[in-house]
Every structure is written in C-alpha cells, then in structure tokens.
Point group: C2
Chain length 349, copies 2
C-alpha cells in the first residue's frame, strides 16, 4: 500500500465539511483504498464483481454438516438461475456474479456465468491426511488469480469473494488454527446449524486434521514460511479456499480492493497474507460472521468488519452488503466540499 | 404493526434457500417492514427520501459547542449546494434530499430544495427555562408530519431522518434523560468534539435543564403521559427534534418505514413513541452513533442498529448508510428462491 497516498487521504478528510473523524471507520476505509490504488482520492470501487468459488470436501464423510453434499451442486444451479441470496444482494449492489467450479464433486452442465476450472471432484478427507496435493492447491490459487485478472480486465474496480461448499467451515477452522495458532475449540463453530454433539465431533475432527497433517507449532510448523503456508493450505484447506486466496492475490497485484466475505474468505485471506504479507493492505473486511473463528481471523489480519449483523450464510453475502458502505466512503473523497470551498467556519480551538 | 404479516414473513424466510436464521438481523428487518406495511413481502423501500430539519438552539450561548452558531446556516447552504457528506451518501443510496428550516437563527434565502417553515429564530436557552412553548413544539411536530406526508405523496417508500443544528446534542441528552430516566453524566457526550472541561460543563447544563424544567421523576414527571411527553419535548428539545418526531409520526401514519439516523433522531423518536407507542414498529435504527446517549436510547426503543462504525456526524448520514442494508433485506423476500422452487435439498434433522 502507498503510504504517501494514505497520508494525503487523511489530510483531505480533515479539510472536508464535517468534524474531524466524524465518519469513524469510514475514514479508515477511504484511506485504505487510497493506499491500495496509490492515488488520492482513490477510484470509486464500481462496478463490483462477485466471484463464487464452489467446491466439495472429503471431510463431509465425517458427518460434520447436516447438509447433504449434493447441496453444493444444487446451490450452484441456484446461483446460475439467479435465485440465491447472493444474487439478490448482488442486484442491490450492482455487482456481477461469476460462479467458478474449482472442485464440485459432480459434473456440472455448461451454463452462462459458470466457469469450469474443476481441479478435482472435491478434496480428500483432511482428518485422514492432506486434503490436496500442493500441486492441486497451487492450481486452485492460479484459477483465483486468473479469475481476478479477467474480472478486472472486464472493468471491475472492486472484487468481492464468494464461496459455496458444504462442510467448508470445517476446513476454515483448521486453516485458522494453522495460521493463527488458536485452539480448535476456540475457532470451530456451528456453521450453518449443528447440534452440540456434532459440534464437539467437528472440533475433534479439526484437532485431528492439525495432528495428522503436522500443522502445530510443536511439529515445527511455521506459517510465516511461504512453503509452510502453502503446505497448510493444501493439507487442510478446500479448493475454494485456495482459489479465494489466489483471487485476493490477483486483486492486490492489480491494485484493486477486494472485499472479504465471512469466515471462508477470512481463512483464505490468512493463507494469502502468509504467502504475501502486503496483500492485507488491499483487503476490506466486509462483515463479521457469527462463526467464532472469524473474529480471531480478523484480529490476526488487523481488519475491522464493516457489517456485524450475525450473518452466517457465505456465498459472498456479507461482502456484498458492505459494498455500498465502501462505495459511500470513497464517494465522500470525491464529492464533499472543503471548509474553504463551502465557506463553512471551522470549530474554535 | 401487523402481527399476521410479520408471522407470514418469518415463515417465508424459513422456506428460502439458506439455512434458517442465516441472515441474522436482516431477517428481523424484513419482518419489521412486513409488519409496518401490513403485507408480506413488504414493498421495496425505494425510493428513499431524506429530510434534514435545521434549527438553532438558545443553549448555544452557554458554550456547549466549539462551533459558532452560524455553522447551522452555512451547512444549510452546503446541503443545498450538494457539498455535504449527506449529499454524497444520498447520491449513493439514490435518496432525494429535502432541507427544512424549522428554526434557523437567520433569514435564509429561498432556494430549490429548501422548505421554509421557520417557527422561531432558534429556541430559548433550555437551561434557563422552557426552550419552546408547547404551541411551538406542536407547530414543529406538524411541520414534520406534513413533510413526511408530502414526500410519501411524491413517491417515497422509505423516509430517512436528518438534522442540522449546532448544539443539538445538548438538547438530545436532556430529552434522553427526560424520557428514559437516565442520569445526565451517563448520556451526555462530546458531540462533534469538545474537551474534558467543556464536557463536564455540558453535563451540568443538561442537569440544570432537567431541574429548571421539572423533568425528573421526583417532580412528578411521567413521560408515559402524553401531556408530559409533549411538555418535555417543548422544554428541552429543539425545533428540529420536534419536527423529526412529527416526521416519524407521519411515516407511521402512512405505514411507510422510517430509518432513524443517530442520537438526534433517537431522542426525537423517544418523544414520538412517548406520544404514540405504536410508531416504534415503523422505525428502523440506521446506526449507533458514538454518542453515549444513543445506546441508551436504542435500548429504550428496543431497536438494534444496522451500522455501528463510530459515526458522529448527523445530517442523516447514518440512516443513509443503512438504507442499502434495509433494501437488501427486503429484496431477499421478493427474489430469493425457496427450497422447493429451486430443487435444493433441506438439511437433515
């Protein structure tokens, strides 16, 4: 991020016809986007483009989710038909919707709006060994980088992460443990709705995944080392997590801001930041999900969520909901008068 | 609010292709708007109309604000020229902006977008006696009701409250004390920026206002009695507070939702709800401001704020920022597929 552009953005905020700091966290968003773009004022983050990366998870066989695995495929069809919440929110935000198959466990018919980049028919069971090979993880990363590049090439000035994958909160919890060093019991949540017994079972699965894959500090695992960062992503991530990490890297490479959705995106961002720390400056936390691991993730990334309304849906819904807030924060930098230009007297003292 | 429409809205939410409750607080917003409109799904809250009620305050002479009183007039000009933050946010939300002079302490030149309804050249000093007569407060209430009616007549399907008035957080703090019974030290904040000494002085002014105007329980004051509710509004409110209370009453009468901005709107809503308790069901809390009295106000009103980003600007900015969230919540009810219609399998158990 460009420190000079950020300093100029702060100075500009202080000349606008409002008390200093009166826009609270929105001022930080505008400064962050100035840093990302390297100019002040930063470009308006419109149009926005949502990419929903869909994939399945071998760990589903362990009974960590009450939803049948085929719901991933069914929801892809729902996205393509325009019937999901993400579609409604995207329409509200004026964002395009692209669906990317990076690893759904079924053959999907070709459809407009669907990009076929299947790397595997779902991952292997992360609690029994690595979910992916490092080659698979790297391939999924490349898909994400490419999709980001294509959307930006097509005119997008803000990317929003989306995900679909039954059982993917289990993979997210394992990634969060690996990258932040937190305990499984602290960061493993109830996803889209499980009872106490299943929740305890899910915590045990996450713990086993970290042991089996030697991702604890006691194993010599050091997430700050890029080779360890990639190994963790492959061992306990999902294909959509890897693709989202690539999507973030691709946005940052083009100096375009990326709004992160919830805990899936957050755990993918941990991987992206472990691989390339500077990308954190291009991320905006769209919202804080109800999943307990998400707060730990945002703390680790140093990001403040813009929306905090107990959403726990994924698909990019929390990122989409934050887009108008990001957009409003930037619009202030373009359109609001200064004390001088408007002839407004400044406060005394 | 229509309990039957609310029940149908809850049932409809549960059939949509998402886990139950996965939209968190947004589900409550959609249910609330169904109750307000008396139909399910509720109408889309677009277009939105912001009304900024501007007025001055006699208590300004007590040195409770670091801003000169003429800033009220200057900011009215800024709103009319399109240069304020509220204008930028309104453009983002697609909302119209109407400025209403209910009591600015200067003659304002006629201008497109300005409604001249001046009731007085500012209020009297609330710490020395009543700020307004009950006739003045009632007249300001009527202005608010009329403006709401005219905006709805012109097509608005969501109203947003805005305010401008140097020193108006002092009046808000006094209103909050009167209607909620809280102590002045608990609810009096730093407004748009004052030092410790001025803050202590401001608390003392609020306390004196309640004493002088006999608005404490020990005085026999009972805010649940409509005549006491109106007397408190007149004694320590501002002309813009009274007009906003009327604006809320006008929205509720037309079954149109009204998004409350920050602490000024919240304290006005306390007056409106004291006068007519049912109007609470037509209010949505746009945001929680940094002012300490606002949290107490929202608690009292039973409203959960949608945006919580430490804004402390007023003008309607927090309400405008929440509008896309409200709109997205309602859009879900119109556009999202059900499990049956989309052929998505429901969760087991």
């Amino acid at each position: 991020a460009d420190q000079d552009a950020m300093a100029r953005a702060r100075e500009h905020q202080d000349r606008l016809t409002k008390p200093r700091g009166a826009l609270g966290a929105l001022e930080d968003v505008a400064v962050r986007l100035a840093g990302a773009a390297g100019v002040c004022p930063p470009p308006m983050p419109v149009p926005a483009a949502l990419a929903i990366f869909a994939a399945d998870h071998g760990v589903h066989a362990q009974g960590v989710s009450p939803w049948p695995q085929e719901v991933t495929t069914q929801m892809v069809a729902n996205f393509l038909a325009g019937g999901a919440v993400a579609n409604a929110f995207a329409a509200s935000a004026g964002a395009s919707v692209t669906v990317v198959d990076v690893g759904v466990a079924a053959d999907l018919p070709a459809a407009p709006g669907l990009r076929a980049h299947k790397i595997a028919y779902g991952t292997a069971d992360l609690s029994a060994g690595p979910a992916m090979t490092t080659e698979q993880a790297a391939a999924a990363l490349r898909v994400g980088v490419e999709v980001a590049g294509e959307l930006i090439e097509a005119g997008a000035r803000c990317l929003i992460t989306g995900d679909m994958g039954i059982a993917n909160t289990t993979a997210s919890a394992a990634l969060i443990c690996a990258y932040t060093g937190r305990d499984a019991a602290e960061v493993t949540g109830r996803g889209t709705g499980i009872d106490d017994a299943t929740h305890q079972h899910k915590i045990g699965i996450v713990r086993r995944a970290l042991e089996v894959n030697r991702l604890r500090a006691a194993d010599g695992f050091t997430p700050e080392r890029p080779e360890d960062a990639l190994r963790a992503l492959a061992a306990v991530g999902g294909l959509e997590h890897a693709a989202i990490a690539g999507f973030i890297l691709g946005a940052a490479a083009a100096r375009v801001p990326v709004i992160l959705d919830g805990v899936i995106a957050g755990s993918a961002a941990l991987a992206a930041v472990a691989l390339a720390p500077a990308v954190a400056g291009y991320c905006v936390a769209g919202h804080r999900s109800a999943e307990p691991g998400h707060a730990a993730t945002l703390d680790h990334l140093g990001l403040r969520p813009l929306v905090d309304l107990e959403l726990r849906l994924g698909e990019g819904t929390g990122g989409l909901l934050a887009h108008p807030i990001v957009s409003a924060a930037v619009r202030v930098m373009h359109e609001v008068a200064t004390f001088d230009s408007a002839g407004v007297t400044e406060k005394e003292g």
